[in-house]
Symmetry: C2
Subunit: 385 residues, 2 copies
């Protein structure tokens, strides 16, 4: 018998297309020679297009957390005050990074599953008028919530305060026009909508952020933006880049450009709607009050530990989903539709959930009810667009 067929249906890492995996397996060029520079120039332009910015998009060899840190050390001064939104695992991380650097961080604590209200940002800035920057997630992966980034950027726009947006699980899934909305720092990572393995992360900064950066005095070296920008403008990186993943990125960006941004966003929206319809059809409750298009977060039904569900689905059916962390551990599970997912990935995820829940004693509806709802939603979406 062959080993259990594996379905990686998680919001990061997301599935890597076979052709991209093979593009990354090709012999790599030396990063200080013309062949690499040509690829990197193409990649830089493509990233500017995804980020919807005229600014440089810097490519780092690191995980998304590295660029989160870079978004503090490159723009802040010692003793600066910041405001950050903590509505989940990643929001919490802003506070931890700030603590490591001795930054005065004012937390806006939001219950898991809820989005911050723009008025909370306004109030925080009224209370702390010297705030140098507001830090927020476009998509809080741990809860599946989309914070209202456009509205927050509109609030910071007229002030001497930056709007820093972690879009690791949002960029390339939903509209985040950096320049148009006035986002000052936008961060993303490779293992999400851009369909690559983890290992690359990106950051782009507005004129306003670069200007603030001139006065920044927190120590930094590997994550120093200026050094990196100087190199990357010559189609080089300051430090040895993750060459193989960059080869994959070049190919992914060609696909995405051909698809166009509106279609990319619609593709994500469509699968998000289908997933939600499926869960509702199974009488399951969604967890996020303002759900992000990349992840559907679902409350585990009464009596079912979502950790057990996730474990069962991996071990018995080869289907990898993710559960909840910290305070919602055992209480939620998450369906991803981010990057290289199609209709049948959602069909598989929903069918696996139907089967797994039944195995654990929850079967509100006949098998296929969730799958049918997902398919119906997809078909309706296709008929109206």
């Amino acid at each position: 018998m062959p080993p259990l067929k594996q379905y990686l249906l998680t919001p990061g890492p997301t599935p890597v297309p076979e052709r991209i995996a093979l593009a990354m397996a090709q012999p790599i060029p030396h990063h200080r020679h013309a062949a690499f520079e040509a690829v990197f120039e193409e990649v830089r332009h493509g990233l500017g297009w995804v980020f919807q910015t005229k600014q440089d998009v810097l490519t780092y060899a690191c995980s998304g957390t590295g660029t989160l840190e870079s978004a503090m050390v490159n723009v802040l001064k010692r003793d600066d005050e910041i405001v950050y939104v903590n509505g989940g695992k990643f929001g919490e991380r802003w506070g931890k990074i700030a603590e490591a650097y001795g930054i005065h961080a004012h937390e806006i604590k939001v219950p898991w599953g809820k989005a911050v209200e723009p008025v909370q940002i306004e109030e925080a800035l009224k209370e702390h008028p010297k705030t140098a920057a507001v830090y927020v997630q476009a998509s809080e992966s741990s809860t599946g919530v989309a914070h209202p980034v456009k509205e927050i950027a509109a609030i910071t726009r007229g002030r001497d305060t930056l709007c820093v947006v972690d879009a690791v699980s949002a960029l390339g899934a939903m509209p985040l026009p950096m320049d148009e909305w006035g986002i000052d720092v936008l961060l993303a990572g490779s293992q999400k909508a851009l369909m690559l393995p983890p290992g690359l992360a990106w950051v782009a900064a507005s004129e306003k952020a670069w200007k603030k950066s001139e006065g920044a005095n927190l120590p930094r070296f590997y994550f120093d933006w200026k050094q990196e920008r100087d190199s990357q403008r010559k189609n080089q990186t300051a430090w040895t880049p993750a060459i193989s993943i960059i080869l994959g990125l070049a190919e992914v960006l060609r696909w995405l450009k051909a698809e166009t941004l509106p279609k990319i966003y619609a593709r994500h929206e469509r699968l998000a709607r289908a997933s939600r319809a499926a869960m509702k059809a199974l009488s399951l409750e969604l967890f996020a009050d303002r759900p992000v298009v990349s992840i559907t977060t679902v409350k585990s039904p009464a009596g079912v530990d979502s950790e057990k569900l996730v474990k069962l689905l991996i071990e018995k059916y080869g289907v990898t989903l993710v559960g909840g962390q910290d305070s919602v551990k055992g209480k939620i599970f998450r369906i991803a539709h981010l990057g290289y997912f199609d209709d049948f990935d959602i069909v598989v995820a929903v069918a696996a959930i139907e089967r797994g829940l039944a195995d654990l004693g929850y079967k509100a509806k006949p098998f296929g009810t969730g799958v049918g709802a997902a398919m119906t939603t997809m078909a309706e979406f296709d008929a109206t667009t």
Copy 2:
């Protein structure tokens, strides 16, 4: 006509074996699930074996420079003094990182192509007795010099001073028994003797370094060792790891273990001798006074700009070598024998050099003289071992 066949014969990135490239192209597991943990546990043990240490070897998603920075921020206090050896591009970097963090760095400047003398370390420590750590390269890639790491570690051993060794282009090519020699911090990167694409870097620290780390107060987050060690002991990483490269690493470590360390070192030594014999046979002069086994650095003959040679070899023959940087730009070129190189890679490199030099007007000997000397040396090595 097919495109020009490409030969990547550089000391980093080094050639990636086809089978490893395919191992990295396999579907990746989720990094928070058991399938990854099993691979990572194997990798952790394998790394301990290569590093020859009982300490944890921490895996980071970054380039080598990231771990260089980590080796300062994790062990130093504000206002600490350090001593560093600057004998090339990478030695110079210690000074730049120290400057970024406001560390008092005492430079031992060594001419490019020369190794530091142990007595220079002794004198520096006499002059600066409070030195918290000595920073040195085992292999200074920019010059092809091996600094006397064993002797330096013997000097720091009895003091309250750490010996920090950048072994990015040395680990897995030459003996560097960390615990036995008393090296306190040993750093390495994936794109060298371990035959992988760039994107991973490693660091291991001695008991003495961990102890010093307890008093360290430089700010750090992504590169915080403690956080990473706590996670990695659970076969996890603190931040999302570069999963695909770790899959390749597992396979590489299996090969290397089967080969055994003495044979790995002999393999490098053998190709180093062959390369040097070839250059001497062509009446070319070596640049390094204490050459490292991983790189042979050669002075360009009078009248030949090594930048032109390197450019010609890439463009006309598809052979990628590297030239010199900064003060030796145009004056040296480098032959790599690090990682996945065999006899015929050296044959190709030497033949390309013979041909390229002739194209540029230098032909001291008949074609094949260098290649013949390399082959003779290899055959003699085989006959005596």
